[in-house]
Symmetry: D2
Subunit: 414 residues, 4 copies
């Protein structure tokens, strides 16, 4: 039997040192499917607004695993039985929870593939790795799919207060330089407990939970849904949409082999054979950026200009309102653009478009955060909060945006 290789602690600016808890975890981390996450930006194009935000899915996965180790420690110290197998399965499940992310994280879910979520692809990867690793991932998969009878195991991986969220809020707040979006993961974890196989928070943790929900809301509106970030993400989606459209029309666009495959084929969940999955595993941020760098020289007005905008950070303007933008205003702007550049209205619609932003700070539909009172009773957090109207937080906030070109483009540049 091989001994665990030496590199087993990893420096992390947030937690100090992250220790790899087992050989299985180590070899999963070494696998090229996991190493690929080093090339997938955690926050997509947010670095266009927050230049510090270049951290990766790889790093986030390690961070979430670190927090899982802390959670296991805390729960065990409170007498919650967690077997060695369950423990390792938790580490594996959280490590791989995002392995299915495509380039630039969320932007790809509806452009590269057709309505396939990254969680679904994560599961496909886990199953494939399970074959390669002699069924050692079976329990982790069960937990990930929420098919394990002890519900809290799944909740630690995916739930209202899972290790994924705790890490990404902390990490994204750290790397963007938005310290007020931070959560005290350590304190929240210290207050976790298990009651009837479900995750609960000790009652005195209520202020920490409130703070977590409000910090999350702040991160959404101030960071994840930042106006400029939205423009960048929408441009990216449109670049790919246009590229697929041109490809369908028979244009041969330069692109990496992997990207080429997904431009040429419409892939939904059923199409994901092992071969398709392996092709998917070749895709990362670098394929997209490199393709755009070639496309800036393309003849197509749309593809060329969208690519240029993103690469040179010379973006569209954006307005955000709480009401829908009137159709006539959009049409007018499209018409004007079409006239100026002698393009079709359909082509103009790539530069003038509207959309919807939505966020719900706390969802009470699927899963709630439950507090454990001293008398052993359970109470839902929105009911326990004396003052901070958490039910308000559970209503969706919807906003609308309109993107359109700047005037006098480039006129001011050298």
């Amino acid at each position: 039997m091989k001994t665990l290789p030496k590199l087993k602690t990893i420096n992390d600016p947030i937690y100090g040192f992250i220790t790899v808890p087992s050989k299985l975890v180590f070899y999963l981390m070494e696998h090229k499917y996991f190493q690929r996450l080093r090339r997938i930006s955690q926050m997509g194009f947010s670095y266009i607004v927050y230049p510090g935000a270049h951290h990766t899915r790889f790093h986030h996965a390690l961070g979430a695993m670190f927090l899982m180790q802390k959670a296991v420690q805390v729960l065990k110290s409170k007498g919650v039985a967690i077997s060695a197998k369950e423990e390792e399965a938790l580490y594996v499940a959280i490590l791989l929870h995002d392995i299915g992310h495509g380039p630039f994280s969320h932007a790809m879910e509806h452009s590269i593939v057709e309505n396939v979520s990254h969680e679904q692809i994560s599961l496909l990867f886990m199953k494939l790795l399970n074959q390669k690793f002699n069924k050692q991932l079976t329990l982790a998969i069960e937990i990930f799919k929420d098919q394990h009878p002890r519900k809290f195991l799944h909740q630690l991986v995916s739930g209202q207060l899972d290790m994924d969220r705790l890490d990404y809020l902390k990490r994204d707040s750290f790397y963007t330089g938005v310290p007020e979006g931070t959560v005290n993961a350590q304190r929240l974890i210290a207050m976790l407990n298990v009651k009837n196989d479900a995750l609960v928070v000790e009652e005195k943790g209520i202020y920490s939970v409130e703070n977590f929900l409000v910090a999350r809301r702040l991160m959404y509106w101030q960071v994840y849904l930042h106006k400029t970030g939205i423009v960048a993400e929408q441009l990216l989606v449109r670049v790919l949409k246009r590229a697929k459209q041109l490809t369908a029309q028979g244009v041969d666009l330069p692109a990496s082999k992997g990207l080429n495959f997904f431009l040429k084929n419409t892939i939904n969940l059923n199409d994901f054979s092992e071969e398709v999955l392996d092709t998917f595993s070749k895709l990362d941020d670098y394929d997209i950026i490199s393709a755009m760098k070639m496309w800036v020289n393309n003849d197509d007005f749309v593809l060329k200009n969208l690519s240029k905008m993103l690469l040179n950070r010379d973006l569209l303007k954006i307005k955000v309102k709480s009401k829908v933008f009137p159709q006539h205003k959009i049409k007018e702007k499209r018409k004007q653009l079409a006239d100026t550049f002698n393009i079709t209205l359909e082509e103009a619609s790539y530069f003038v478009f509207t959309g919807k932003l939505e966020n719900q700070a706390y969802s009470m539909e699927k899963d709630t955060i439950n507090l454990l009172k001293k008398n052993g009773k359970i109470i839902e957090v929105a009911k326990a909060s004396d003052q901070l109207n958490l039910e308000a937080l559970s209503t969706s906030v919807v906003k609308y945006y309109l993107c359109y070109p700047k005037n006098n483009k480039d006129s001011y540049r050298g």
Copy 2:
């Protein structure tokens, strides 16, 4: 003319370096009335719960002045006219805003003096210093008293978003090790502006304001009103009440000269002659702790035991509820204690008592936080928040506590 002495930057773990902006400020800082703040704990007895929280009023005053410098910079860069005189007056006003605090900050307002607030005493000190400094504080006093026509000057010193609050939340969160209570003072200040001579926050700062209000609420319930801290503060108030009572009965309690004066005399605002003020300026945390160290040997059961409890951190128990504790329960506990130790019921009431905790995260009564919309209109923040029900935050939360002795006191100690 003297040049500014060399010590003009001060190390601060939070802001890095604090620079003294003028000679007047420097000499005020050097004055013994201000130096005294080095001996007054910013958070009273909170260090009994949070052992890191030994920072002082002195340090907080400097921090608030640092933030004021940032605010002046920001406002000026936005075209708000602030004259050199007004600027210095702002620094003086914020530097001295807490100079009237007595020992252990808030605990003293109703025990050492009779219903005299620290703000009133701060004003008395400012007036006295104004005499000593050739009327150089006149404008600062005007601002402090809110008698200056440009209202925002006062709001920067004392308002919903003043430099005092921004610093104390940041500083208290830092020193207690409750990072989720932090506020991003830098961002909030960057979003300040002035409209019609009143302070406003630019509209896009709404999430920062929400976060500020929720962080403040968290700090109140988790830190300032922490159960154990409440016990300590209440014990302190009772130690002094008992000491005054005994003194009134003719007992000659050992105490410093300054403390002795306030034990012997009932002082309300009208009694504050220059001499009384000077005597008050001799009082700080050290007088109280030293007196208690002597009082542990006193014959009076109450004084002796309350003092011992505080010094050895062997406190009363406390329960907190949202309902009033029934009178009969309190009486019963008092009776039991009186019987056990052969003391009167009145004496027992020093160890068994109830009280009320109240906090309002955002008060809409006196002063509101107003947002400046892009169209130049003003909107109150509670009305602008789309989701976080800020009006809920403006209702007072009330809780009740009951304090009573542990059983088997000391039985477990060596």
Copy 3:
């Protein structure tokens, strides 16, 4: 059997949460001898320069215990056998290592007592507590005294790289706001190992060790031996010396009972009966400051003025040089002062005096830091460093200071 009371984690701004590892440790922490450390400033009068530095011996002791828990974890994970009894003894020993500190930490060792070090008094306290706690501290005492055969146990408590130093450097750097003085305690601990029952550092940790030594040197010269801090400490020593002198002459100085005892009696190690020790346990920073607050009204010119200087931070001037100050210069300044204020030359010597500062960043005499090479050999760090001349760091640096009064004292104040 009692269960461990609930308060078992403590907030720490540096480490997040500190967990109390056992009941014995908990009850020792609760003991009034330990609680007293809350009233003893970790850095003496350094807060006069660094206003953030009000942290206490209490907090440092907890921090060092936290690091000890980390060290035990690391060593065990590397296969070093540490029994449960040894583990607890390590926690007890590090928790109590500073329990013998007097008011204002080091300043008291040669003024309150006669050449009794705080380590000696710590040992006396440990022995007394051992009686009160049914001999449960025996092993801890053995380790503290370096009488345990497994030398590394003592080295973790007191050695070149002990948990005491790691915590105080980190903590003092944090609270003073001198971040460049920080050490990476986590990394240093992660590289510890044990060879032949002695503590070693893995070879690749050499840069961390170098950094630790240089950071320590920086903290000494920039913080601990800061000019203004030296003045304050020397004034404090002289205040007490003068108070003892006056007491010996029959003057009855106001002072707390505890302080009074040490002013009246000359106490060396042999005099430390249990009763004396208990009296000593009553002493803390509050006795000293309170006494000085009374002494500012004393008739004695020296006592009164020294006290005033310290309380109002209106200190002597100081010059620091690498050469001895000429005697005639000192005499001249004393003469001048004596003439001005009509005091004796001996009295003037309290205000004009010289002294020596000395620091050795790395001492090779008693104990060295040893590296464990990959081939299993041991090499002393000063020999292993390729470039940073560590032998230079082991030579003592000596500087001399001269303190003397400002001119025109008080003339510039309001």
Copy 4:
């Protein structure tokens, strides 16, 4: 005249907010040549060891400009005359000092181009931008080239204590999570002054300077020259060398247009026409990674395997020693590899190779750090340090490394 667009402050996790000081700076930042730096990793392949280290040249350039603003503020407050034109020139020069970096920063200087340093290319870019921006960069260029009579202007941009170094040490230490490598940029800048038009540090800053030099040394050996990082960098250099070799042999390798140009042509400084420079400006990390992603399918054993190693982080082994590795050992390993895989010895040399690491923490040859004594005299820091033997730091440390393949490659993976 256009007003400065709204985006003028940028979030930075290290400094909080960075403000853009002028329109010229803003438009330079907006230029695609500068935006390109968003796609060039500051630390090359170091993220393979430190997963947090994905920050970019773009971010570093902004950080260095922020520090320059602080330095200008400090120097002006000390009476150093700096005109508005000089001030802006300093910002421009520091902003653009690294604009000539190629993909993966340093690795490219001897593979993409032939012995052309990034500074030389930065200068070419500045000159080109100067044309595009109506000669507004002339003074900045003069300062950058050290042709301005006031030497300190250049020293702030490029010298022993320039803003570049201060930012990269701070930033790299932050993003790698090696806090002990941090420098206190704020304190160092606060101690800067100018004497005879040259930069000096006030004498009391000596400990900060020492700390800076030692921290820099630590960062070199622990981070920049980390063994695993060296392997990655050397693999990258060899990938490109091989690609050039194959291209020269007529093999048509897939690559972006920009990369293709540099593979086909040998470019030295004289070849850098405006056209070549523009082609160079198209190159960034994405070209290299994308090319390697294609090359993993190439027929060439060397190109394919080197690319795979880097992408999947399945690197060569490395040994580091202070002595040269014997030639026969290297030959032996090459022979063995050649035999195993049936490749030539020349091909094997891509996998078995040796090299030299060198670092000098403080160079006294070109430029020294000078201290300004209180008496106005200048002393070189290595002579002023009483204990830390800085002359030792100025000797070069040389180490040698040997890279070679792992055994049983891939055998343990799923």
